[in-house]
């Protein structure tokens, strides 16, 4: 295996079912890390080109991620990664913030993006909300079956509605799954977070740079690789 194949083509057009994936030894994990680090480096090059502006809700999501990751990584020995993450959060905190657009809610459908904002922003490390976990699991399951996340789902049947091209929904879901994993340690969350991350990383760089200003995407990518690093016991 010479490259990380799971992001080599746009996974929203040609998905991967991950069945019987090939074993590539330690080298494979290095290729995975290279893949994520390469995208983090790409975002670095974009920061000077684009003003670092993000919406207030996105900022609240990233600050929640900061809060949860500080607890999760409190015993981590790799100071290089910790300082890299701190630096990304510090720069994020210097961002210009703008107001989000008003959203029209529909009582028959779940607005995926708005529900994810709500679940993440109200997430608590100490208080497990069963109803919230159920919604997260339903979204996770929808992704696992179709490898897509739709703008909305019917509340009664969870049938998808709208399109599946909104990259912000994938970003929010991956963050939601990472914070749920960091609290509950259930591998199902991390598993789907990795697949959603593959989907995002497989997108055209121009679209990614347009959608995710500053460190908005670099932060969850770095946290994901740090979680994987923490799970390595073979060295």
């Amino acid at each position: 295996m010479k490259k990380y194949i799971y992001c080599e083509t746009n996974r929203l057009i040609k998905n991967h079912n991950y069945m019987y994936s090939e074993y590539g030894g330690v080298k494979f994990l290095e290729l995975y890390e290279e893949n994520r680090n390469e995208l983090i480096s790409f975002y670095e090059t974009q920061i000077n080109k684009n003003k670092n502006i993000i919406s207030k809700k996105d900022f609240a999501v990233l600050m929640k991620l900061k809060n949860i990751s500080e607890i999760y990584f409190s015993n981590l020995k790799n100071q290089y990664q910790i300082s890299k993450l701190k630096n990304l959060f510090f720069r994020c905190e210097q961002s210009y913030l703008y107001e989000d657009e008003l959203v029209n809610y529909d009582k028959y459908n779940l607005n995926t993006k708005e529900k994810l904002y709500e679940l993440i922003i109200n997430f608590s490390f100490n208080n497990i909300e069963k109803e919230h976990k159920l919604i997260i699991y339903k979204i996770l399951k929808k992704f696992e079956i179709s490898k897509k996340l739709y703008q909305s789902y019917k509340l009664d049947s969870y049938k998808p509605k709208g399109n599946f091209h909104d990259l912000k929904i994938y970003w929010l879901t991956s963050i939601a799954l990472l914070i749920y994993y960091m609290r509950d340690h259930e591998l199902q969350y991390l598993n789907s977070a990795l697949k959603i991350s593959d989907t995002l990383c497989s997108q055209d760089r121009k679209n990614l740079a347009k959608e995710f200003r500053g460190n908005a995407h670099s932060i969850p990518l770095l946290i994901e690789t740090m979680i994987i690093e923490k799970l390595k016991f073979y060295r």
Binding site: Y18, G24, F28, Y137, L140, L187, Q188, N191, S192, L194
Partner: protein, 243 residues
């Protein structure tokens, strides 16, 4: 000994070959086998690259698995009645019709990976015996042995009667196993091997029971528990390398 009340529906996969060779070796032959024939591209569960002639099973005593021996060859070797069905999708009406016409009440199911049996097949009045690769009800879903190896350092298998909700049917027998020497061979060797171990034990139990229902274990399935989905390659590698 041929078991008159048990048939087998099998795809030409490494798992089906493992099942058939191991139960044949233990004298637990089904009376009829329907083989789902695949004339197209390689499907999930097929391991046509394996050139190894013989593999000594880590989990079944005195048994050597032959990866390249086809189902047809094993059937002929043990004089088992078999038929081919020129379909890979078990949910098709012509496949269901063939299953309905079987005299056997219990059907060992070993189809192609990723296929879900629909209600129209599950409701034909037969028991579909499935061996799940994982310890139920703790590990429901797909590729769960990688997850249990990563989390708890064991792999498992469970025999169940299939129901419409995945991996929630009545459990007949389940067992935890110590990890194999090389987890990278789990997909086509060790997973099949532990499943076969459980299949053998289940068939022996069915032999001794008056009613199949007598074997159903009392189990409490938590409805809200999350299923496991196909493991991401990164977690799969951690599961293999950490052990």
């Amino acid at each position: 000994m041929i078991k008159k009340n048990i048939a087998m529906l099998a795809a030409e996969t490494s798992r089906s070959r493992f099942y058939l060779q191991s139960i044949a070796k233990k004298g637990l032959l089904p009376s009829k086998i329907l083989i789902l024939e695949n004339r197209g591209k390689i499907l999930a569960g097929q391991d046509l690259k394996n050139k190894t002639l013989e593999i000594k099973s880590f989990y079944i005593e005195n048994f050597v698995f032959k990866p390249n021996e086809t189902l047809e060859e094993t059937c002929k070797k043990y004089n088992i009645n078999f038929n081919f069905i020129n379909e890979t999708n078990v949910n098709l009406d012509n496949v269901i019709e063939k299953l309905k016409n079987l005299q056997e009440k219990i059907i060992i199911y070993s189809g192609y990976g990723g296929t879900i049996l629909r209600s129209k097949i599950l409701n034909i009045g037969k028991y579909f015996l499935h061996i799940h690769g994982g310890y139920l009800p703790d590990y429901r879903g797909s590729t769960t042995n990688y997850y249990s190896a990563l989390k708890e350092k064991y792999i498992g298998a469970s025999s169940i009667i299939m129901s419409e909700k995945i991996d929630t049917g009545p459990i007949l027998y389940r067992k935890k196993f110590k990890l194999p020497p090389d987890l990278s061979k789990i997909d086509h060797i060790y997973d099949s091997s532990v499943r076969s171990n459980v299949l053998i034990k289940t068939l022996q139990m069915i032999n001794e029971a008056n009613l199949l229902e007598d074997l159903f274990l009392n189990q409490k399935v938590k409805v809200n528990d999350m299923n496991y989905f196909i493991i991401h390659p990164v977690l799969k590698h951690l599961s293999i390398l950490n052990n």
